[in-house]
């Protein structure tokens, strides 16, 4: 990037003006087409065009505005990687390598699941939020947090929160991390369980990733240290074999029966796996699985993007469905605020702020790289969400709802389910679903909630357009395996993070527990963490309304509350740096998030509809239990479900209060600053000229 002095502006050549005018018109046209189209189907290419134009304009103008007018990114300033180079944590790294690391770290299963669930409202609300929320909210958050951490020698979000907002800020960030991790792991576990239940093929393929990861770990540790690429290539080859192998096993009755389990049993297996992965050394399971899932993820997403660009499939979901009124089967709640919390990672996610203040700021070679990495990586994540939305909405709406609606809402029998869904105006037949299930190599596709199976069906359809239809089942199970792979990695990584935080916290009371390498402490704290998410996961499998309904909104609220905390921190930093005039870039997204999450939290707490409000659901169950109006299995589970509802309500209330206390704290600090009173000095590192800067 050329060094432009802030005095002159960038030179606007007539050609450049014309180009950006054309892009704006094209983008507006694509947007208009998507929003106003009322035909049977719409081509997905318009989505790609609209997304590309929005990202181009956002990056070229908005991120440049933030970089030059607000943050004053200075390419002559020595970064911490240069000043503190230690060959380990602080290592000046080429911008594209850092981009790769950062994107791999922020890209999780979130942007694939959220949009798939939000498609119940139709394609329009979710897509608008992904594009606008991303460019105006998520990208801004990631970018500014990265910059602030960069100027503070790579301080983490928790530390910056403590510096700017006091010790409560640090505590809130830490608590936010643990809560989000636990809920997220439970939800993701549920998604995988729903994909594997009574599906020997899927169960075998997912189970096979464990020995493959072990082998890779052994390869990279003992046989050929550091040879990540070799190990990954071998791993991927073995994974593809396992996808095919699953199909073979599925055909043999005596083998098939070893991999056929119901949801609660699979949940227990996942819990056992989670504990094992958390207590074994990282190099054995977690690290190799991470490499595998990163490369698979990037490769598959790239392939999906190319496939969508070449094939331009038709979107069959309507722009807006009747479920914006709150009666949606996949999760209950009106369009506002629930579409905004259902899509978290694809638009704005607080967890990203942790990654942006993690290792990334310690790797930057030049300050000006922060724009491309902070803003750009989130843009790419947002694009992944757009593609997930496309893959979800290319399905027939009736099929989409048949796969994603829990049995408790549409009925457990296939005939009942199709009758209910057809009565909503989304025709589907039992024969259609049976044929689809056979094509995908599954016994049934009904009530495979959580978004992964329907995404896999969508991806299989898209990929099979370039290959033969015989391969549909292989594509489907490949897609399931790809998503399960990095869901399980998130599970492993998240358990470890929570375990560290817990050990840190307990270490204040009992020093021995705080020692991260002391094995009894590792076992004990890991067991606690796994028990916590395992409980939520198990509850999710037996919840008749489908665990996704209660847990995914909770995850979204928690995640965006952490985003609100991160935005509070950077808003305070900007105000203290004298940037009050421009603070709207962070303050507006912050206000929006507060409105959305507070409304959502209120609804989840106090809404009288049992499907929406936790407390209403608990009361409804308790009443029915007392009146002995519940079927026997449900009556047995009811006390646990009631307790679970109250627990979820408690968590929601806790997160709410924490976020608002910090907002009040932020306002207090800002008011003090504006009145000229003394506030804590800026913790920014002093300017040191970079050795690489041009004289």
């Amino acid at each position: 990037m050329s060094q432009q002095s802030p005095m002159n502006g960038p030179r606007h050549s007539p050609a450049s003006i014309l180009l950006w005018l054309a892009i704006s018109v094209l983008g507006a046209g694509a947007f208009g087409g998507i929003a106003l189209h009322r035909g049977e189907t719409i081509n997905s290419f318009w989505f790609i065009i609209a997304a590309a134009c929005v990202y181009a304009i956002g990056y070229r103008f908005y991120s440049l505005f933030i970089a030059t007018r607000i943050l004053h990114l200075d390419g002559t300033r020595a970064t911490p990687a240069e000043r503190l180079a230690d060959g380990r944590d602080f290592v000046p790294t080429h911008r594209w390598v850092v981009f790769g690391h950062h994107f791999a770290a922020i890209a999780g299963p979130g942007p694939l699941i959220g949009p798939t669930l939000a498609a119940q409202f139709g394609y329009l609300p979710g897509t608008l939020w992904i594009l606008l929320g991303g460019v105006l909210g998520g990208c801004v958050q990631d970018f500014i947090v990265l910059f602030c951490s960069l100027r503070r020698n790579g301080r983490s979000l928790g530390q910056m929160a403590r510096d700017e907002l006091g010790p409560l800020g640090g505590l809130a960030a830490m608590l936010g991390v643990v809560t989000i991790s636990l809920i997220l792991i439970a939800v993701l576990g549920l998604v995988v369980v729903n994909a594997m239940k009574h599906s020997p093929w899927a169960t075998f393929t997912v189970a096979a990733t464990i020995p493959i990861a072990f082998f890779m770990g052994f390869w990279m540790r003992v046989l050929r240290p550091g040879q990540v690429l070799e190990a990954t290539v071998i791993g991927i080859a073995l994974l593809l074999l396992s996808v095919a192998g699953g199909g073979w096993i599925d055909g043999i009755l005596s083998l098939r029966v070893w991999f056929d389990y119901d949801a609660p049993t699979l949940a227990l297996m996942i819990i056992a796996y989670g504990f094992m992965a958390a207590v074994l050394p990282v190099w054995m399971l977690l690290a190799p699985r991470d490499y595998l899932s990163t490369f698979m993820k990037v490769g598959t997403i790239a392939a999906l993007a190319v496939a969508i660009l070449l094939l331009r499939p038709e979107i069959r979901m309507p722009a807006v469905t009747q479920f914006i009124d709150g009666t949606g089967p996949i999760f209950s709640g009106k369009l506002f605020p629930f579409v905004f919390i259902t899509i978290a990672c694809g638009a704005i996610s607080g967890f990203h702020a942790l990654i942006s203040s993690g290792t990334t700021p310690k790797l930057l070679m030049n300050e000006s790289d922060a724009r491309m990495i902070g803003y750009g990586a989130m843009m790419m994540e947002s694009f992944v969400a757009v593609m997930a939305m496309i893959a979800a909405t290319v399905l027939e709406p009736g099929v989409y709802f048949a796969i994603n609606s829990p049995a408790g809402v549409v009925g457990a029998e296939a005939a009942q389910a199709v009758a209910t869904i057809s009565s909503w105006g989304f025709p589907v037949t039992v024969e259609q679903m049976e044929l689809l299930a056979r094509e995908m190599g599954e016994a049934t596709l009904f009530a495979r909630t959580g978004g992964a199976p329907s995404l896999a069906v969508g991806m299989a359809h898209i990929f099979s357009m370039v290959s033969s239809r015989e391969l549909l089942s292989l594509w489907y199970h490949f897609a399931i395996m790809f998503e399960a792979l990095f869901i399980l990695t998130t599970l492993d990584a998240g358990t470890r993070v929570s375990r560290f935080v817990l050990q840190d916290f307990l270490g204040n009371a009992v020093p021995a527990l705080g020692r991260t390498s002391w094995y009894p402490s590792v076992l004990f704290t890991s067991a606690l963490v796994v028990a916590a998410w395992g409980y939520l996961l198990y509850m999710g499998t037996i919840d008749p309304l489908g665990g996704i309904n209660s847990m995914w909104p909770l995850f979204g609220i928690a995640n965006q509350m952490l985003a609100a905390i991160a935005l509070c921190v950077v808003t305070t930093i900007l105000v203290k740096a004298g940037k009050t005039r421009h603070v709207w870039v962070t303050a507006l997204p912050l206000c929006w998030l507060l409105i959305v999450t507070t409304t959502a939290a209120f609804q989840k707490l106090f809404n009288p509809a049992p499907r929406i409000g936790f407390l209403a659901h608990a009361r409804d169950l308790a009443d029915k239990l007392a009146a002995q109006a519940l079927p026997p299995e449900l009556a047995a589970q009811a006390p646990r479900l009631i307790f679970n509802d109250r627990l979820n309500a408690g968590l929601t209330l806790l997160l709410m209060c924490l976020a608002w206390i910090l907002v009040i704290d932020m306002v207090r600090v800002c008011l003090r600053h504006w009145r000229g009173a003394v506030v804590a000095a800026s913790s920014e590192a002093p300017y040191v000229r970079s050795a690489h800067a041009m004289p």
Partner: protein, 72 residues
């Protein structure tokens, strides 16, 4: 970045090969280990021996997973 005569004269295929080789070295950990050795010699020369390749990657793996590393 100014390019010297001989480098500029190399055709795009050679440059592509060179970039690919660098990417492969990066992914295979060669770059990281070479950088560690260079840093060690520059700052800790004479204080014993640097970590072997196996030891270096063992400690890198452990260090890399210390903290918040992967997202949702």
């Amino acid at each position: 970045m100014q390019c010297r005569e001989r480098v500029c004269a190399a055709n795009w295929f050679t440059r592509l090969r060179r970039t690919l080789r660098e990417v492969l070295q990066l992914l295979n950990g060669d770059t990281a280990y070479a950088r560690y050795l260079a840093h060690w010699r520059a700052t800790h020369a004479g204080e014993g021996t640097p970590l072997s390749r196996a030891e270096f990657f063992a400690s890198e793996t452990a260090r890399r997973w210390n903290g918040v590393r992967r997202c949702c």
